[in-house]
Structures are given as structure tokens and as C-alpha cells.
Symmetry: C2
Subunit: 439 residues, 2 copies
């Protein structure tokens, strides 16, 4: 469960909570605009939202990590260069088209930055571009250039909620997490629903803070906190070409306690990462795999990932079917090749929902446990799957809404490495979302 | 396409073709029996089929390869020991329960072997056990011991078809492939539909031949042919705990040309492997990824596997959606970490259905190509997905039936390594099969 363990009695209560978290840190403004366009490669009318985040004054204190996909999007290529620049003044984000390997993609991204910068009276090199959406198409640059001038007048310093809403694609909800610490605040928003695996997910994450943390320290902190948060989740094992996590400080509030800042940052990242999974395309159960007593942390995380990425186990969970054989299969699939050697079967212990299912080298099952496991899986469902007359399944999270997970504990009994990995089940809603997404 | 490129006008024509391939090589008999039982762990009545394959005289010339899953089933543990035995006389196979990590599982497997051997007048050590089905339960040994004596009277030397039917679980069809070579024959049957990935699939494969190939040579040949066949397929990236490929020679026909024998064996294995994919749970499109000019064969195979295992691309294919961005994402996901270094983006060329979609570092797309790609994907569909009133999708292959694939060509332009990998799309039929399989 997220550190705050939220429940929402209704959609309105959920939205009210998001609004309550949305106050922008000092020194930032955001604005959005929405317009129609026709994609070049597949001429069907579509809508794009542009989201602008600005600093009242450009800052030297910014950090970012990007996808490790070998075919990154143009904004990621540009973004990596921006890390070397002395200052960052704004972020311009579009959804709908991800600008990956499109002819002239980098030039297009730079054009958008230049136009944005010019409207703000900044050099183009201070603008970080981000794009998310379908891979393969080019940006509708003309439409975007036309829409951009409406953004500066739309800027406001009150709430990050419009930006959180502006960056999403197939997400269930906007995602905002905040921490108030040392007289300032850390506020993060995230986009991400599919193509979510490691090494960052199909994710755009922007974390804003008014606490003054110098660039080098900020970058080191971000590297440390992404491991157990954004790099410990997987919705579908796919790795987006656009993943970006940016952390920007306006420096308005002195940071007396960097340790407290990093701890708060870690919680914001952990909770946003969990929000991304809970918003995962079609996810009906959130899987939380805790691997303990592994040879090392890397092994533990690798094993956790293997479980949350095993399609047959994910399907079983979707069906509230405690098919623990598929869980064991997923462990065995990678355990032979794990860092630090194989598996000591006699020491392996598995629990599902707190119920022991494997110990002493064999399954520990009986009909009573089977029934208890079914009950547990049902209790962790986020929504009831409804059979649609047209065959297109839609995930509709039920209210009251909970943050319960399907807890899986894997104790290898051999070392001191521990990791927790989050993922989702594999549902008809995921297939509907992804087999019919574009057409 | 399989080497024989089959089309069947009707289900009857398909079955007639299977029967025409089914003549047993000299020196073998098979028999099956079916009975009711109640599983211990989940007490609901079920049916099990026992399949017996016997040799007229035990043979020294047998080979087998098994799963690399670190938690193998008891029959795999026993089977590995059997490889050291001087002779093999029979194989006893059950479906429905896979006997993996069940308390007393190895002892149960040995009990079945002992009883089978005793009925055949053989030592227990000459009997190879195999089990497939749900993981987690124990074998219904008493029911099996009761049913076993009905098997020897059922043995016949004419057709392998009843055995091909006896070993299946969720398979669409029985699978038989044969080669007539050098005055003898090689006849193989396969079971496998889900939990299919590398290092063998959820697969039981039995290949019988009357051609006399000595044990050592037979084992070396099997090792060589499984790489480009059974180790080059993946339905869902999951690796079964029970995978077994056994190759047995009755030695009745002198083998004058071992090279021709191995070539024929390679074709039988390739075609059976393709049959397994084409029978994959819910598979509506067979994906065939050919990777060329890779640094080496291992890299090529690894990249092909990444593509056929990428959930988002698999969903797009299911929806006849040429979402080539998801294909590029899948390549980029692994390309950074590939053996032999990264990717030279400028040299990468991609074709889908013979249509160029990527070259010179960028996508090569336009609305005409988009339409041609949709048409191509539709032409490769094995069946039309029908929206079921109860929400439980069932794969029902249409007749006339074809063996067309979704051909994906990835040319890395850097080396001489080549590999072809087969997989399937990700459909509602897969989710229905696996979310509702047991319950």
C-alpha cells in the first residue's frame, strides 16, 4: 500500500483529495491548452493537450533520468543534452504523439522549444520538451505552434491539477503526490498506464520543489530514489521510448535538512510509482511482491519482476484463481539464472495474502486454504469486470476505492537482499485497451 | 510457414491429413485410457488420460532434453536419471496434473513407472514418466494404478493419432509430423499450448523412429535440432516446469545416411514447434520474426524473442493494428543490452509483411502503407474473434485453414548472425483461457 493508505468513498471524494494535494510549490506556474489536429501517418482527427510548466526564474538545480530503451524518442535525446545546460526555465509537454524515430523528430522538438522559449523570453536551451502517445508518428508542429501562444496567458501559480490532467493518455486518473517538509514542499505528477516496466516506465513524471537543493545533490538523490520506486514497477514488461522523470527546484525555501528532503522525495516517488501501477492499463489487481533473504538486492528485484511479468500468473490473478503453480513456474523460470546462483528449494517459502503455500520443497495446500486464497484475491480486486455487449472491456474502478494489493512474499532463505516490486494482473480490459487503442 | 505449407478446406480434411501422417514406425505401439478422478487439493471431478508408448524391445538409443526451469516437475527429475539407464522400454504420460513440487511427487512418479513396467514385464528403470497439467497438485496415484491395467490390451502398432490426442490439455488440435527417410520414418507428436517459451516450452514432445541411430549420435542430434525449433518459440514467455522432448529409436531399419536423418529430424522438430505455436492458447496470429545481420545467432534469437514476447505489440497484432511503434519499442527494450553491443540505428531496417516500415534511422510510413499493413494483418488471422455473450472467449480456427504468419524482418546490418523466432499475439481468447482455466 502507498505510504498514505488512501480510501475514497466516491469519485468526488477522490477528486477533492487530489485538489487538496495540488498546491504548487513557490516559484512555479502551469498552464494547459487543448486543440484538434490530424496526424500525418494515419489521417483521423485527434485531440492534443499541451502542458507548460514554468519557473518564475530559470534554475540551475534540476535533475532528470530517462528511458534506457535503445530507441529513445526525440524529446529524450534533446532532454539528455539539456542536462548539460546551466539553467532550466520551462517544460513543454504534449500527449497523443510521442515523437520517436519520426523523420525530423529532433528538429521538431527543438522548434517547439524555441517557440515556447520565445514566448517566455528565454533561450531555447532552457526548455525541456516531453512527448507521450503513439510511437511512429511525427508531431503536428504547425498545429502546436499555433496553439502555443495561448499557453502563457493560461499560466497560474495555484494548482498542479490541470497539468496532472493535461499529461495523461490512457491513465485512469490524474496522479499527484506531495510532501510538505522543512517549510517547503515537494509536489509530483505522473503520466503512465501502459508500456510500463523498469528502467523507467512509460512514464512522464515531473517533481517540483521550492526547497533549495543544489544541482549535484539533487541529481544524486534522484538516482537513489528511482531504484526502489519507478524502477521497481512493471505493468506489462514493455519499456517505453519516452520515459522521463524530472526533478526541479525553484530554490525559494532554504533546505535545512537534506536528509529529511530525500526521505520525503523517496515517499513521493514511491507513492507516484504505485499510482502508476494502480492506473495501469486494465489493472484489476495490484501485485506487490516482496522478495526477502535473497543473495542481494538485484537478485531480489529481478525475481520480483519475473513474477509480476509472468502472463499466466497474471491471468490467474485476474480470474481470482489462486493458481500457485504458475507463481512457482515464474520463480523457477528465472531462479536458475539468478545472480548469486540458483535456488535452495528446501529454504524457499512462499506466502500469498499471508497464507503459506510453499515450504520444505513442496506445496502446502489444502481445500480450506484454496478457499481462503480465492477470498483474499477477491478482496483485492479494484473493480468488478463487466462483460460488455460490444466486446470492448473498460476498466472502471469501483467506489469506495481501496489501495489493497495482492501480497506475495518470496523468502529465499539464503542471503540478506530484499526488494519490493509492484505490478498488475493481465485482464480483458488490458487487451481491449491495447488491441483497439488506435483503431 | 511450416516446411509443408498446409491448407485444410475443412475440419474433416485436417483430421484426414493427421491420420495420413500417423503410421507408427516399426517397433512401437501406443495405447490410451481415460478415467474420472477427484483432485486432492481442489475437490472437483476431473478426467485424466493416460497414454502409453512402448517399444517391442527396450532400446539403448534414446535421447531427451528437459526444461531449464529451476523448479522442475517430478517426472523431469526422474527422466534426467533415466538418461543414465542402459535401456528405455516405455513412456507413460498423464495429462491434467503435472506433479510439480507436490509432496511425495517423485515417489508417486516412480510408483506409476513400477506399475507400468510390471504390466509390461520390464524393470521400472526402463519407463520414462511424463506429466502435464495444473501445477501444484499431486497425482491421483490410486486412480492411475487402477486404470493402468487397461492400457496394455489397448496397445496397437498402427497409428500414433490416439497418443497425439491423449497427451493434450488446452491444445487446439493433436499435432503429428512425420518424415519418411532412408527406408524408415521419423514420427513426432507434441502437446503444448500455454506456458510456452524457450529452453523448451510447456511441451511434451515424443519423436519415434525405426531408423537405427546410436545413442550418442542421437543425443547430439537432438541437442542440435532443438535450438532452432523448440527453443525458438514463445507463446507467452512463461517456461513450463515439465517440458520434455524425447527421441527414441527402435533400431529396426539400418540408417545408411545419418546426415539425411538429422535433416529430416530438424524438419519434423521445426514443424512440430510451429504447430505448438499455431495451437498456442488464444493465438490468432502467428508471429514469425526473422532477425538478420546480427552480431551473432544468440543476439538474433534474443531480439526475436523480445519481439514475440512484447505484450503491447502482441495486442496490436491481435487487433490487426499495425502499431509499428510498439515493435520498435520492443527492439529498443533489449537492443541496448544485446550481446555484441548496441544498435546502429542508421543500419536498422524493418519490414512487416514485406513492407518497409523503418530505415535510415526513422520510420518509413504513410497512409497508403498503413492501409496495406492492416490488410496484411487481417490476411494472417487464423480465426475471427467472436464476442461471446458470457464473456468467455473461445479460439475457433476458421476453415479453410491456412499457415500464414505475420512476417517481421529485422535487419540489424551489422554482422552475420541470423535467427527465426515464432510466437503468437495476445488476445481475449488467451485471457479467457487462462483467467478461467481452473475455476
Amino acid at each position: 500500500m502507498a505510504s498514505t493508505s488512501l480510501t475514497f468513498s466516491s469519485r468526488d471524494a477522490h477528486r477533492a483529495w487530489l485538489a487538496s494535494q495540488a498546491a504548487l510549490p513557490a516559484g512555479f506556474k502551469t498552464g494547459t491548452t487543448r486543440f484538434d489536429f490530424v496526424p500525418r501517418e494515419a489521417p483521423k482527427p485527434a485531440k492534443m493537450t499541451l502542458t507548460l510548466i514554468t519557473l518564475d526564474a530559470p534554475t540551475a538545480d534540476f535533475a532528470a533520468v530517462f528511458t534506457r530503451n535503445a530507441l529513445p524518442g526525440a524529446p529524450v535525446l534533446v532532454g539528455r543534452q539539456r542536462l548539460a545546460e546551466p539553467r532550466l526555465g520551462a517544460i513543454i509537454i504534449n500527449n497523443k504523439i510521442s515523437n520517436v524515430c519520426a523523420p525530423g523528430g529532433v528538429a521538431d522538438a527543438e522548434k517547439i522549444c524555441t517557440a515556447t522559449a520565445s514566448l517566455l523570453g528565454l533561450p531555447a536551451s532552457t526548455v525541456l520538451p516531453s512527448s507521450t502517445g503513439v510511437i511512429g508518428g511525427g508531431l503536428p508542429v504547425d498545429n502546436m505552434l499555433e496553439a502555443l501562444p495561448t499557453l502563457p496567458p493560461a499560466l497560474q501559480a495555484d494548482s498542479i491539477l490541470p497539468a496532472a490532467e493535461g499529461i495523461v493518455t490512457t491513465d485512469l486518473d490524474p496522479k499527484i503526490r506531495r510532501a510538505d517538509v522543512g517549510g517547503g514542499s515537494i509536489v509530483g505528477i505522473a503520466k503512465g498506464a501502459g508500456m510500463i516496466e523498469p528502467n523507467l516506465a512509460t512514464m512522464l513524471v515531473y517533481i517540483l520543489t521550492d526547497l533549495a537543493v543544489p544541482r549535484a545533490e539533487l541529481r544524486a538523490m534522484l538516482q537513489r530514489v528511482v531504484g526502489p520506486s519507478f524502477n521497481s514497477i512493471s505493468v506489462d514488461s514493455d519499456t517505453s521510448t519516452s520515459d522521463t522523470v524530472a526533478l526541479i527546484s525553484s530554490g525559494r525555501v532554504p533546505c535545512a535538512n537534506p536528509t529529511a528532503f530525500e526521505a520525503a522525495l523517496a515517499i513521493v516517488c514511491h507513492d507516484l510509482a504505485e499510482d502508476v501501477v494502480r492506473n495501469g492499463e486494465g489493472v484489476r489487481h495490484v501485485l506487490r511482491v516482496t522478495v526477502s533473504h535473497a543473495p542481494d538486492e538485484t537478485t531480489a528485484r529481478q525475481l520480483g519482476k519475473a513474477v509480476v511479468n509472468a502472463p499466466l500468473f497474471k491471468c490467474a490473478v485476474a480470474g481470482n484463481d489462486p493458481n500457485v503453480g504458475r507463481l512457482v513456474q515464474a520463480i523457477g523460470k528465472v531462479a536458475g539464472g539468478l545472480n548469486g546462483g540458483g535456488l535452495d528449494l528446501g529454504r524457499l517459502r512462499l506466502h500469498l495474502g499471508g497464507i503459506e503455500i510453499f515450504a520444505h520443497g513442496v506445496f502446502q495446500l489444502n481445500p480450506d486454504k484454496e478457499q481462503a486464497l480465492v477470498k483474499f484475491l477477491k478482496s483485492a480486486e479494484l473493480y468488478a469486470s463487466v462483460i460488455p455487449p460490444d466486446g470492448i472491456y473498460t476498466a472502471a474502478v469501483d467506489y469506495p476505492r481501496h489501495e489493497r494489493c495482492v501480497d506475495i512474499a518470496i523468502d529465499l532463505g539464503t542471503g540478506t537482499g530484499t526488494a519490493t516490486v509492484l505490478g498488475g494482473d493481465l485482464t480483458h480490459e488490458y487487451v481491449s485497451e491495447n488491441a483497439d487503442y488506435r483503431s
